[in-house]
Subunit: 198 residues, 2 copies
């Protein structure tokens, strides 16, 4: 199970970027996004998308981000904080993949199946909380995180960072997820648009 | 050489998202971003980043996007349009990689070297123009593009789409580029910040 926490969201200023962070998290297989304050705009956008496109991705608010992170870690969880100051993603990614998908089952393009359905005595998959900051991230986030990871050492975008991180983690597995409860569905095609409305 | 074209940028409404598209393009190895109208905000952000962080990534404006695309294609160029209605990126990506890096030299973590410096009679690397729309993209963009590619079939973000596409294309090669003319430089580290000011 993958969750994403958006730290330091600044309301009006960040509403579109934070919405993109949320929808990117959903499209790449996260179960929910956690904000540290409520935001009607982002919450509404997420709910509208999930209603039409399916699945049960949730917008959640944590009263205390620190308590949330600590609790998450107690429940078989690891925490990756994306920051341009962290370790090189090219070097550290395989370690994270091995924690979250110890049986290697991210390496296909099937739908988002439950990872816990093997009966062997192999390593138990870890839950993953990805922290992505808006403005300045408190020092404690660096300390509470099991991994501080840079997605490059050049300034770019939180949306790009979460996209690249989750894409590398899941290796394209979730990009073409289909949800039974969707009212709209896109069929990939070479030229033009192929959309099915249920 | 990789260029990115932002089609349908809507000024004030899109300024932050378009800035993120531009900076993500820069961080992932594009040479410039082409807008179809001028935008002081985005242009200024791009220039400030390049001044501090180095390299010669440029913000450009094309009077006619169609003429620009047609001209690009004449100069050993191929065009990939990212749209959620296009072909499955998981299936088509290897074909694009083979056009842009026919000698396979995207598969390392070195700096952004010139791809044309081999003297063998191997296939010549193509220049690549990536089109990424803001609002509705004109029908002609689908027709002029050599590839219409979906980065998933769920709605998410233009920033995520360009990030995943370029990351898969360059396989991490450009993420840690170092520029001699930068005044600021980040050294990846496990915990904390390591920044060098020149």
């Amino acid at each position: 199970m993958i969750e994403v926490m958006r730290l330091g969201h600044r309301g009006e200023r960040d509403k579109r970027i934070s919405t993109h962070v949320a929808l990117t998290s959903r499209a790449l297989g996260a179960s929910n996004i956690i904000f540290t304050s409520s935001d009607k705009h982002v919450n509404g956008s997420v709910d509208r998308i999930t209603e039409s496109w399916g699945g049960d991705f949730k917008f959640k608010v944590a009263d205390s981000w620190k308590s949330y992170v600590k609790e998450f870690k107690k429940n078989n969880g690891i925490v990756a904080h994306l920051t341009m100051y962290g370790e090189n993603i090219n070097e550290i990614m395989s370690e994270i993949i091995n924690e979250v998908y110890p049986t290697g089952n991210n390496n296909n393009n099937n739908n988002n199946n439950n990872n816990n359905n093997n009966n062997s005595n192999e390593k138990v998959p870890k839950n993953l909380l990805v922290i992505i900051g808006a403005e300045k991230v408190p020092r404690e986030a660096y300390e509470l995180a099991d991994y501080n990871i840079s997605v490059g050492n050049q300034p770019h975008s939180e949306v790009a960072a979460i996209a690249i991180f989750l894409d590398r983690l899941t290796m394209g597995k979730n990009l073409y997820s289909e949800y039974e409860d969707s009212t709209i569905k896109v069929i990939p095609c070479k030229n033009g648009k192929n959309v099915i409305m249920n």
